[in-house]
Symmetry: C2
Subunit: 137 residues, 2 copies
Amino acid sequence: MKTVSGSGLKLTPQRMAILGCLEGNRCHPSAEEIFRQVSQAYPMMSFATVYNTLSMLRDRGLVLELTIDPTRKRYDPNVTPHHHVICLACGKIADVHAEYDLNVPADIADAFVMSGNHVEFYGTCRACGNAAQPKGE
Amino acid sequence: MKTVSGSGLKLTPQRMAILGCLEGNRCHPSAEEIFRQVSQAYPMMSFATVYNTLSMLRDRGLVLELTIDPTRKRYDPNVTPHHHVICLACGKIADVHAEYDLNVPADIADAFVMSGNHVEFYGTCRACGNAAQPKGE
DNA sequence: TTTTTTGCAAAGGGTTTGCATCCCC
DNA sequence: GGGGATGCAAACCCTTTGCAAAAAA
């Protein structure tokens, strides 16, 4: 995650707590998960502050807002280009560090100015696969 | 879109209307858009039926449920493998017909059994770009 | 002091669910 | 008659918003 200093953000305790929760976090937490975790140290923390802070971080490019989970937004402090895989059984998301050559057809290149891309992989993680197979169901 | 016959679905007027609305539809409509359109011919149509039907079609692989739009699910009757681009300004989604070689790193291949993938492109469509540029804002 | 941020609570949008009714086989 | 489908409304979840109080610069 990029540093906050110099981006004009006021560094409040709430924001420090949220940043601390995100820093190095590889779990792709949702806003609610961040709220729950940060609330342990800051019981007065409100949802609004979490959402405000996440939106601000997203707008400044300090976190990525992932749409891969159909039920909620997830946040990733790793803003270097990478992709993701989601377990269709349990929803677990893992990073996929790979570079792909993703050229779009001419008609699309004509119709859109591209600013980025993201590959979503769908699969079943080992834990879910192991849980499902042995029973022979 | 694949045919419904032989999949055990009862072909009710409501479902025919929803299928008719989706057939060949390249607009990636949301459930609400489908509801509005189908309601014109079937004023008694309920949201529950739209959602029920879409879930059923999705479970049977007859439509794709897209998560590319962070605000709502969108549905695509074209179930042949393809990708999408979304305009970050207006939310318009277009198909990207291209095949990519998307091999995942060994650690991911070990941890997940892959079942599919999807590339999301982000950009600005010509309409939004034209609207933004000329004013020099 | 001036501006920003917080916390609370309510509202909002999209989706799901419970249940009685209805329809078709 | 019986299982499934429908319609309605309420419930639910996640997210956003309005506003007064509090905190930061």
